[in-house]
Subunit: 242 residues, 2 copies
């Protein structure tokens, strides 16, 4: 159990990105549909997006367990993609087409509340990514979506993936704050639980559309404790006086 | 000798910060004068600023040589400051006052051409710091001066100080570009020479006011080669078509 939460202690906010800041599923479906239209191939892109994302945790686990050498997310995404293409009738894609599709994760759009909320939060706090996505992916995504980060922090800098504590503690160290001064913001309770174990206060912003309209939350909050709960980044800014 | 320089190859720019982007000497003098006024102590702040900066290369060299454990710039600045205070009649400063003065490096202002130039460059390229300053210092400085970095890269991420090649090569790796696609921008030829040895193209932007009006360049270019030379960041943007 961490110390009692005081909003006035907060100096900086770090954000989970895939699902919390950007709509990865909608982005993969959108770019996939454009590829289908260009090549005249019918593909179940929602199923494709879900299968791609489903390969992600096991791939990180293999990297974490040392079964494969440290690989950044671009590399993990590409490994999963190459396995996935034949299952969806896409084995004829060229190397350039595969590389372009793999980089869809660099071109994802933010949820509608994100830009206005981040701008408010940035006026009062340091705001940074804290994502398993690699630095260049996060930088490209920020330029694509005009995300106004003060800093781009990634698991890549620590050679550890979330939820390893090295990631949360490393972010506090680089930002020059104590863990208790660094608020972790995520749509995934498991990420927040790991942050709390490392001493960070937590803000839960559920994203019920992450897996599509009418889907269930894959990581439901249950009765887990968060220091803040906000419906979107606008309410988060309000709760923090920004 | 690197490959011939083609501006069209450039994907990202990394910038030296102290002296190239911000006027460290003017900032130290300004904050020092405010401290003098508040406490009624006369101090030769230009000499103080120069002495503080002069301690910096030897301190990094001790860290590089392993004589002292890896220390970030905030720590190196503080060590130098503590040695300097008695020489300038400031030994009575409290811990809070010392800490505040040490963080003047987080509050430095950019040269007048910087903001407009960076905004133009950012519209076409990824722009990042590549400084020996630590991440939190660079983030605070960017918030203070509204520097629109896409990414904040620091020697701290590589546990090597410039001009060690690990810093330049690490920046290219994290930004997902080849060294030949990453332009190093600096007011200091020695920094650019080290970048070129690591395979980066170089842009020299002299800052004749770095050591004060009427001072000489401490690191004159002589007949050294740079891929680009610009009088300020506006001309740099022009040369790069941004």
């Amino acid at each position: 159990m961490n110390d009692p939460f005081h909003p006035a202690d907060i100096r900086a906010l770090v954000f989970d990105v895939f699902g919390t800041v950007v709509d990865w599923r909608g982005g993969v479906i959108r770019d996939g549909a454009a590829l289908s239209a260009a090549k005249g191939i019918a593909v179940d892109w929602p199923a494709f997006a879900d299968a791609w994302r489903a390969g992600y945790q096991p791939a990180m686990q293999r990297a974490r367990a040392g079964e494969i050498a440290w690989t950044n997310i671009d590399g993990l995404h590409r490994n999963i993609l190459d396995e996935l293409l034949p299952r969806f009738g896409l084995e004829a894609l060229t190397e350039d087409e595969r590389d372009h599709l793999n980089r869809v994760w660099h071109r994802l759009d933010p949820w509608p509340d994100v830009l206005a909320g981040l701008r408010r939060l940035k006026s009062r706090f340091t705001i940074s990514t804290l994502s398993n996505g690699n630095v260049s992916l996060l930088v490209d995504m920020a330029k694509h979506g005009r995300l106004p980060w003060d800093c781009v922090l990634s698991a890549e800098l620590f050679q550890h993936y979330k939820p390893d504590p090295e990631v949360y503690l490393g972010a506090a160290r680089l930002l020059g704050v104590r863990p208790a001064q660094l608020l972790m913001v995520a749509a995934h309770p498991s990420d927040l639980e790991a942050a709390a174990r490392a001493g960070l206060p937590t803000a839960y912003v559920p994203r019920p559309l992450e897996f599509g309209l009418g889907s269930e939350l894959r990581d439901p909050p249950g009765d887990r404790h968060f220091d803040l709960v906000a419906i979107d980044f606008g309410e988060l800014a309000l709760l923090l006086g920004a």
